[in-house]
């Protein structure tokens, strides 16, 4: 077994963001091969990981913040790409998808009492979804308000939407929709908005690297009248392979925000056109005004994942530079890099050819950390604050002076920022949906 000798097993590194202090800590994952996905449950108290070792592990967080693996089992006969939690109101339910062309639904059941005492839980397979003829690349549950619905997408370019009509019986899933996206699909994301003004919507990304095939992100919307999903938009400017896609938690905002991991990090704003809101149900998909609000090539390579925090005010991305980067918008919707950590939790250093914005401050607060494991030295890394401190300014200071906005090392490339582009009407026509035979 290969062992890495460069990963600090119990090192603690501090990272200060404009807004947040973080401490990174390594956890012995004990997967026998690469971990492909990590997913939190609704409350953030449980976590699931999946790996090329064909297993899924479930982790529970104790009150003192430690993670304990409480279940680990073989789920598929191939690499497991993704794992995801259902909302807890449907029970403790997981879904996984794999190279073995299947997706599976798992439910935790009451185990033997001694299992519980040993801190183990028992998961059983409720169903295997075998409709795909190729690798199933992503699996996601639909937002809770839609009921218990599961979506998969696969390398053959098909999105499948399943529904469990009886939430008490998770062994029965019916294939409700089969939508052909024409391009190999790599990732899918539901718009989490529960507002009635927003019909169910998801975005699907393709990792097809042929740029001549056009837009690699498609957005589909449910039409109440036809009871089908129809394409609402294709992001024509995203022509390179897309590896991950994430709708931001809507939180009652009037628009949707979509983060895309492609050769760079992109953030799009999708603004439903208000005037069509009423008629949209009858005439077709909601017209969306698509604006690109940020585009960052700081990873200087392929970007693999993007993830939003619960208020969609922080975005995390990972790329082939081996770094995790954090992004945040200021009040004026200007997105900035606010933190960088290397994949092994260590701070980024200048030798990697990347600009570094860190300076070490020997802080007295270091020893306040309860987590100083192994007595390893901990250093705090501070980033210069992006926004001017509010103290001292009086009321009504709406705009920070422009000189203060632009002094981060991470300059966004913001093409067409001021010019939201409209797609041709042809692109707005719904694509005929291939319903399940």
């Amino acid at each position: 077994m290969c062992r890495t000798d460069r990963v600090p097993t119990a090192g603690i590194l501090w990272l200060a963001l404009v807004v947040i202090m973080f401490v990174a800590r390594s956890i012995a994952a004990d997967h026998k091969d690469l971990i492909h996905d990590v997913s939190y449950d609704f409350h953030g108290r449980r976590m699931a990981t999946c790996s090329s070792d064909q297993s899924v592990k479930v982790w529970d967080r104790s009150e003192n913040g430690e993670w304990h693996c409480t279940a680990s089992w073989k789920t598929h006969s191939g690499s497991v790409w993704r794992v995801t939690w259902a909302h807890p109101e449907f029970g403790q339910v997981l879904a996984s998808c794999s190279f073995d062309r299947t997706a599976a639904v798992w439910e935790e059941i009451v185990g033997e009492s001694n299992d519980k005492q040993r801190g183990l839980s028992h998961w059983i397979k409720r169903t295997t979804l075998v409709d795909s003829r190729t690798s199933v690349t992503d699996v996601k549950f639909a937002p809770k308000h839609m009921g218990l619905m599961l979506t998969t997408c696969s390398a053959d370019g098909v999105v499948r939407i399943y529904e469990a009509p009886d939430v008490m019986n998770l062994s029965q899933w019916s294939l409700q929709h089969e939508i052909s996206c024409k391009l190999s699909c790599s990732c899918i994301s539901w718009n989490p908005s529960s507002s009635r003004a927003h019909p169910p919507m998801f975005a699907v990304g393709s990792d097809d690297s042929n740029v001549t095939y056009g837009g690699k992100v498609q957005i589909y919307e449910y039409n109440e009248n036809t009871r089908k999903y129809a394409k609402a938009e294709t992001l024509m400017t995203v022509t390179d392979a897309v590896h991950d896609i994430a709708f931001a938690p809507n939180l009652g905002r009037s628009f949707h925000v979509l983060a895309i991991a492609t050769k760079d990090v992109r953030i799009f704003k999708l603004v439903p056109m208000r005037s069509d809101r009423k008629e949209s149900t009858s005439t077709g998909p909601t017209k969306l005004e698509v604006q690109i609000v940020a585009q960052f090539d700081n990873h200087n390579s392929q970007v693999w994942r993007v993830s939003w925090n619960i208020t969609s005010t922080l975005l995390a991305s990972s790329g082939d530079d081996g770094c995790v980067r954090l992004w945040k918008a200021n009040y004026m919707d200007n997105w900035k890099c606010t933190g960088i950590l290397k994949g092994d939790g260590s701070p980024l250093t200048s030798s990697s050819g990347q600009p570094t914005a860190m300076s070490t401050i020997v802080g007295s607060s270091v020893q306040t950390s309860q987590n100083a494991l192994n007595g390893m030295s901990a250093g705090r890394y501070f980033f210069p604050p992006l926004d001017p401190p509010r103290a001292g300014t009086r009321y009504g200071h709406l705009l920070p002076p422009s000189s203060l906005i632009e002094h981060c090392d991470a300059e966004p490339i913001q093409p067409q920022q001021a010019l939201p582009y409209r797609l041709s009407s042809r692109a707005l026509l719904p694509l005929p949906e291939a319903e399940g035979q």
Binding site: I35, G91, Q302, I310, D320, V324, K328, P389
Partner: protein, 884 residues
Amino acid sequence: IMSGSKPDILWSPHHPDHYVICDSELGLYRIGPVGSSETKAGTLPLSEETAATLLAINSDTPYMKCVAWYPKHEPECLLAVGQANGRVVLTSLGQSHNSTCKELVGKEFVPKHARQCNTLAWNPVDSNLLAAGLDKHRADFSVLIWDISSKFSSEASVASEKIRLSSVDLDSSSVVTKPLYELGQNDACLSLCWLLRDPKLLLAGMHRNLAIFDLRNTSQKTFVNTKAIQGVTVDPHFPDRVASFFEGQVAIWDLRKFEKPVLTLTEQPKPLTKVAWCPTRNGLLATLTRDSNIIRLYDMQHTPTPIGDETEPTIIERSVQPCESQIGSFAWHPSSQNRMVVVSAANRVMTDFTVFERISLAWSSTTSLMWACGRHLYDCVEDGAEGVESVIEKDIATKMRQRAQSRYGHDTVQVWRNHLLAGGNDPQLKSLWYDLFYILLSHMKQCAEDMELKLQGNKQSVVYSGIKNIVKTSSGTKESRRCWNGSDRQTDLPRYDSEERCLALRLCGWMSRGPDIGVEVFLRSLEQDREWERAAAVALFNLDIRRAIQILNKGATAEKGDLNLNVVAMALSGYTDEKSSLWREMCSSLRLQLKNPYLCVMFAFLTSEPGAYDGVLYESSVAVRDRVAFACMFLSDAQLPRYMDKLTNEMKEAGNLEGILLTGLSKDGVDLMESHVDRTGDVQTASFCMLKGSPGEVLKDPRVQCWIENYRNLLDAWRFWHKRAEFDIYRGKLDPSSKPLAQVFVSCNFCGKSISYSCSAMPHQGRGFSQYGVSGSPTKSKVTSCPGCRKPLPRCALCLMNMGTPVSNCPGTGKSDEKVDLTRENKLAQFNNWFTWCHNCRHGGHAGHMLSWFRDHTECPVSACTCKCMQLDTTGNLVPSDSS
């Protein structure tokens, strides 16, 4: 493979910290941590943490074309060098006094005909065997396998060689001319590798085919025609998988189905120079093209299947950039995970580099970030350490959590205090909660007045509609010209007055209610808050220069006061309304240099023409409430609505909560709040603010309902269930329509009626199951049978009493070893009487009894029932994170 002076790198097979760079000479390096390798001259930094020390140089072997490191432990630093003339020389780096080494070093293996040696490969098992691949020479063999232990050389051939290569002084005793095997007749060999699955098999990239030679039967070979014959290399993790390349294209072969490549990788525009499998990781192939500063990685996720399966392996293409300069060559570290050393094409600049695995990541609901890199997980937790908080502004998610815990929004009496509960450092929130405070205050006052006048009217809603609407309806405005306070000098300034404007001033907080009408109360409170400039400006706008000067003097002399305020006061005292005075001229030009916006607007006001106050009205650093109040005093009925509209739109656009003063809690206010939520995501403030709007119309707005639902969802995700419940109670008071229906009722086994139904249906009887219900009725009636049919209620599974009988004593509770707060225990005592049951097996009893039973048991107390009642619900086992 080396061409020209392009460098190559070889890691030592046994020393994990030794490697050799070969270009025109051989250089042996040791890699180590930056600090530890005592700062010797010649230490080269390879990365932030590591540096290399040059240990030895060997320039004995000119015309080097390829190098291979002897795989056995002893001798340590033995290298085979293939030369341009086809000779293979054994050489060494560093001093080795080992006898076998001495014997071997300097040994030469000479082919019959001189031509370039392209490649060398040591047999991994029989380490005496060294395979060399040569260019074509007529019908001669191109693959020679030498036995380095052979001692004899044919004198005849040596003699002939000597003639040809007279420049090289040959020691005939160390020259071997007879290979053990000769293969690949009439062909050229460009690359070689021994197969790991059988060390008797040698894979060779020949002129136009890949061939597998078997040393047991050299007359036969397996081959496949292909152009991809360069750089053959076996995957150390799948001995049947081989990579080779031709120009920009890599072919992957499966030796079990050797007819054609199992796949070919995307063609690169430039020719490839190196292709290497990662030795520490499954299915990771690194490739390098000429004139490039990136290394392209192909992540083959899957074990090839033995049978001809049509499954396409998923290949993830990646690229990494180890250094800025163009890369000459690279080499994977044999044991260190995903690590490689890279050498630049020029100047031998080396870089120690580790390829990170693709990182997947996720945020939790409580803003901790988990990521997975390779087989490792990293938990990035938000740090709660004190001290840095004042410096660094937190994310709204963190702010909302902290505010929820400090009961932000819940102060319904001193409404303005909510901004303190929010942390007290957000000017917009301060403004918002003061607005709401004044609105509610005026509302109450108006209600009281209406009560007196016995008015039922729609007038009450006017305070909610915002100043913009209030002043719009302004009628009977009186224009007056006042004197400067304390002097009888008449001013030119027309001041406007009306009932509505007066209300607006109250809502701005400038005027207080009650008998003490005037601005003095407000001024004093500003002085108390040490807002000297603002107080002075307000005094001045109320035409009281003396008071303004007095305030400034006070500010200058106060502790930590700004002495410059005295200078300002002096300037102020020189005020003259003479149009062409020097004072005016200087004030107009110098006021812009004043940093404090309030000082600035004071002079703007004094130097303005009557009715043209843009210098005051559009000074965006001045609080909206002050500008609005100013406008209400000095703008005419024609000007005022225009200014209000403009300001309102500006506030709505920016989502600035100060604008709530103008919009009130009307639809306009919802629009403004929407803009604020769009920008900040602060649904908490939006929810609490809109709940204050008692007209109810704004609460019906779907946007408001959406914010409330989103806020409740946040509280649930954070497990702030108590806070959510409190919020619901609070909401229910203000918005009765939000009250949920009863969730569950217990029905009688016999008549099917709810046992509490009868109570609620006949409230006048005052009897019932209050001890089961939420409220403890003072009349503690004992009801042990169904009020509908009078049949007895089920018995408690533990005490076997009919339900309804109060719990006498509870074993297990109040144990001496458990330190329990007595008052808390008493509060919970009633709970012991509650009726509870398992939803699965439907056995139950007194809550207190069941609780104590399950402290020690996992199974149901009813005999023969094996239900594990306590383990059924995972969410039920979660504890709220906001309980104290």
